[in-house]
């Protein structure tokens, strides 16, 4: 058994888990944060993407113990109160989701992409950057549009702040 202490969405949490427990299992089964999904068992689909110390990671591919001491953000922690993150808002605005199952991972990847690369991002970059996220519903068309729009909006916001 391993004792894992970490910050999840700003809250300090501790759990005692089997050594083999995956981070996604800790989040879903122990902490009840079921917004992070599991879509595969080979680290391919990206439904489980979260932020670990500010970087996008596949939480199915890390042991819970590896997150000891880290700060984790999940989809549940992205909005500030009732105020959606611009990427969340853009997914709705551009119909970037259908069944919603890939969506949390898509949004977390998109936020990371924009954080890393800045904006506005073009279609080719976005499509390339999404290679670790699979969606079966949308054909990606509107996901790409949503990220394009959000990246432009966020670039505008950060310029305005400067």
């Amino acid at each position: 058994m391993a004792k894992v202490s970490l910050t999840v969405n700003g809250k300090a949490l501790t759990a005692e888990v089997e050594d083999r427990t995956l981070l996604v299992q800790l989040l879903r089964d122990v902490f009840g944060l079921t917004g992070t999904h599991v879509g595969c068992d080979t680290s391919q689909c990206g439904a489980c993407v979260i932020h670990l110390d500010g970087r996008a990671v596949k939480s199915c591919t890390l042991l819970a113990a590896q997150a000891d001491g880290a700060a984790v953000t999940t989809i549940e922690g992205l909005a500030v109160g009732d105020e959606l993150h611009p990427v969340q808002a853009a997914f709705r605005e551009h119909h970037g989701l259908q069944c919603g199952f890939c969506t949390p991972g898509m949004i977390m990847s998109a936020v990371d992409m924009i954080n890393r690369l800045g904006g506005p991002l073009d279609e080719e970059t976005i499509r390339h950057e999404l290679e670790g996220n699979i969606c079966r519903c949308t054909g990606y068309h509107n996901i790409v549009k949503a990220i394009e729009a959000a990246s432009a909006q966020m670039a505008g916001l950060s310029q305005a702040a400067e």
């Binding site: 439904a47 549940e76 959606l84 119909h95 989701l97 199952f101 290679e131 068309h141």
Partner: protein, 789 residues
């Protein structure tokens, strides 16, 4: 059109919970004391189960029980069924083998379940599953259609000699043969439709629980049709009578057909819960399991001949298809390659004689059933590959050959059952050709050639039959159920509305589109309207969502219920306003006396209905109405897709440089949602054409493409952005004039892509998926001929 009414691009009401991580999918639920289940699955494609020793597993930490097919049989739990009876040409009924929820004597495909382990935690169940000791006697296996009916092929079910389930036919053989005999030109093609794995991103999941006090079962399940699941689990599997079984399908993460069917795992979870005394039993598939045991799609081999007269008109079409059914007959497996396939072989064309034979064949593979489009993609692929090939052989423009043969008068009775009710195929063809600048293709091809690229263009003029379907008609064709839909509209005393529907949403946006319909009729804001679905305890009965039926059938039922609500509301308003009922009109959420300023708000009328203080004499209080709607015909969405590709002859890589889709879906409720459906469908169709294929090893019967590392799912950078447009002919068969849009993309796109690739390479055919390796080889084989031109 109101801002929230029919035709408006209303943002989806359901999105908020999904984008904030608050969706409620089956695997998200954790009822108290839930035990976790893991299945022991056959590693062999075909094997006799000689013995199962569960003793070590039962003694493992945390294990509650380990159950086998023998236990299932002892409890008299029935087998799973195929709900559509097909008769062979000779009149004999289809030869279906038994389909127990847990295999008892023989495992028939890799992944076939042979035991269920129930433990405190999933890891404990997994560990214990490793300790279940199954002694197998391996048997020879057959996975491919070409060999499965050989006299020396392994026999999979004793009921089906030579693995043939049925040999079915449709159409007029003599007339078709006569047409072929007098043809001025005959096009012959052998075509395979590749086997696909649906791969909804949410894996299947089930939580079965039994309440011993009430002798009542509850199933939470990733289902597209919870009522049908309850019906089958009650009436056939024999879990419990319907009033003792509640099935809930909460948020469901995509289906594409694969979540229609009643699978072994949910049956086993329900039964196991009772066996262990009522603790809920939960199973969620690993993706590897999804690959092995979710029903696959397609898998046809077809030989076809199309006859043309000297004027290039089609005079006959003869088709012989072998359909792989897999190791067991899944819920609707029998109707997919028959009534959902051969009935669409007329395409958009006036063809006087069609004859089709379909042999359905068992193999040692996962069951094959409906996958997005279900039979109709196979038909369209065949027809549109034939048309393109014919045009090339006849030396005419493929668009013009199609145009020459279009059906132009409606209703049109085809020789294969369907009566097309409305359409304008020239309109979608014209729209697509203009948008794609078809005329300018030659210049683009020449320009690409200068860059060393091979450019090709391909068309596909698809038709599909949706809105499944008039109950009496499908009953006469062998369906075990009716295919109507139900709805209930409940107006609350404060004027808000709940719509209970038998349709089920798993990505389609019903919570928004259905509310738009109510808004359109009653003028109530969509935030005051709730759509309730997916729970057999809440909704009276329903047939679920598949075959693009939720609009044409599900919404039609809501229309009928709304008609009744409106009629009663008008009566109440007339009484309150001391006016004649026939003078009452509904506008902007108000009931008005036409031509006056006298009015009552909808709220006032609703409240009056529930206080009952002042109702017309003899009227029952309340404002709640239900309706069942049985479709009068199929609906016939149709359109033209144009795909343009560039191939790199050095690598064989195909890039889709342009994809245009022009669709006629009849009346559209929410264009944004319709576009999303088409995008997703096209992506799946392009996936079929370029990337995806379920491959079994011919000798061992092992699934070679059992993960996302081996099975190529379309990713964002495999696909282009799409250009969509719609034309409109109103469907006369239902009150809203809708045709359905859920499957068109998956139906129309594969032939467009393959027609473009074969055009670029100057070859007749290439197998799907047209991977870079296949394209490169085809180019190398064709290169001398191309060079000589």
């Amino acid at each position: 059109m109101g801002v929230e009414g029919i035709g408006a691009r209303v943002l989806r009401k359901e999105d908020k919970r999904f984008i904030t991580g608050r969706g409620r999918y089956t695997d998200d639920m954790a009822p108290s004391k839930t035990a976790q289940a893991v299945f022991v699955r056959s590693p062999h494609a075909h094997a006799r189960i000689v013995a199962i020793d569960t003793s070590r597993a039962k003694a493992a930490p945390g294990v509650i029980d380990v159950l086998t097919g023998a236990d299932l049989a002892a409890d008299k739990i029935g087998g799973l069924i195929c709900g559509w009876m097909i008769h062979s040409k000779d009149g004999t009924p289809m030869k279906a083998g038994a389909h127990p929820a847990i295999a008892r004597d023989v495992a028939r495909h890799v992944g076939d379940q042979v035991a269920i382990v129930v433990a405190e935690t999933k890891n404990q169940a997994r560990d214990a599953a490793e300790l279940v000791d199954v002694t197998y006697e391996e048997l020879p296996a057959v996975v491919d259609l070409a060999r499965a009916t050989d006299p020396d092929a392994p026999q999979i079910h004793p009921e089906a000699p030579r693995n043939i389930i049925y040999e079915w036919s449709l159409g007029d053989a003599a007339a078709t043969d006569a047409a072929l005999a007098r043809a001025a030109h005959l096009v012959t093609l052998d075509i395979a439709n590749n086997r696909l794995v649906p791969n909804a991103i949410e894996p299947r999941s089930a939580i079965g629980s039994y309440d011993p006090a009430e002798e009542h079962f509850t199933l939470y399940n990733t289902s597209q049709n919870p009522h049908v699941a309850r019906l089958v689990l009650s009436a056939f599997v024999g879990i419990a009578p319907e009033h003792k079984l509640r099935v809930v399908a909460p948020d469901v993460g995509g289906g594409f057909g694969s979540k229609i069917f009643i699978y072994p795992e949910e049956t086993a979870c329900l039964w196991a819960s009772k066996r262990i005394g009522g603790r809920p039993v939960k199973w969620t598939a690993d993706r590897s399991e999804s690959f092995m045991v979710d029903a696959h799609g397609r898998d046809h081999l077809t030989h076809a001949q199309m006859a043309f007269d000297a004027d290039h008109r089609i005079i006959g079409f003869k088709v012989a298809t072998r359909a792989n059914i897999g190791a067991y007959m899944s819920t609707f497996s029998s109707c997919v390659p028959t009534y959902l396939y051969a009935t669409l072989l007329s395409g958009q064309y006036d063809i006087p004689a069609i004859y089709c034979e379909v042999d359905a064949i068992y193999t040692n593979t996962a069951p094959v059933d409906a996958y997005r489009g279900a039979g109709r993609p196979e038909a369209t692929y065949l027809v549109e590959r034939m048309m393109e090939t014919a045009a090339r052989e006849l030396g005419v423009d493929p668009a013009e050959l199609r145009r020459k043969n279009f059906i132009r008068t409606f209703p049109h009775q085809t020789p294969v059952i369907m009566a097309y009710d409305a359409g304008d195929y020239d309109a979608t063809l014209d729209a697509a050709l203009a948008a794609a600048d078809y005329a300018g293709f030659g210049a683009r091809k020449a320009e690409a050639a200068r860059r060393g690229k091979l450019r090709g263009i391909g068309l596909s003029c698809y038709i599909e039959a949706c809105g499944i379907a008039p109950s009496a008609a499908v009953g006469s064709l062998g369906a075990g159920v009716g295919l109507w839909e139900s709805a209930e509209v409940r107006v609350n005393p404060v004027g808000t509305v709940e719509v209970l529907t038998g349709s089920h949403a798993h990505g389609q946006g019903h919570e928004t589109t259905f509310a738009q319909l109510v808004n359109d009729r009653l003028g109530i804001g969509i935030d005051k309207i709730a759509i309730v679905h997916g729970d057999t305890d809440k909704v009276q009965f329903g047939m679920g969502t598949y075959g693009s039926r939720s609009g044409a059938v599900g919404m039609s039922a809501i229309v009928k219920a709304l008609d009744k609500v409106e009629a009663k509301a008008k009566k109440i308003a007339a009484h309150l306003l001391e006016a004649d009922e026939s003078d009452i009109v509904i506008e902007d959420g108000k009931l008005k006396v036409a031509g006056t300023d006298r009015e009552k708000s909808f709220l006032e009328v609703a409240l009056a209905a529930y206080t009952g203080h002042s109702l017309p004499a003899g009227m029952e209080p309340g404002l709640k109405e239900g309706a069942f709607y049985d479709p009068t015909n199929f609906t016939f969405p149709a359109g033209t897709y144009v795909c343009e590709v560039e191939i790199d002859p050095g690598t064989g890589k195909t890039e889709i440089v342009q994809f245009v889709a022009a669709d006629d879906f009849g009346k559209i409720i929410n264009p944004m949602i319709v576009e999303g459906q088409v995008h997703g469908g096209i992506a799946q169709g392009i996936g079929q054409a370029l990337l995806e294929e379920a491959v079994y090893d011919r000798e061992s019967g092992q699934l070679m493409t059992g993960s996302y590392m081996d099975y190529a799912m379309p990713r964002a950078d495999d696909l282009p952005s799409f250009r969509l447009m719609t034309t409109e002919t109103i469907c006369p068969g239902n009150p809203l004039g809708m045709k359905g849009c859920g499957e068109a993309g998956a139906i129309g796109s594969p032939p467009a892509v393959i027609n473009a690739i074969t055009d670029a390479l100057g070859i007749r055919d290439i197998a799907m998926p047209a991977t870079p390796a296949r394209v490169w080889e085809a180019y190398r084989a064709a290169a001398p001929a191309m060079a000589a031109e």
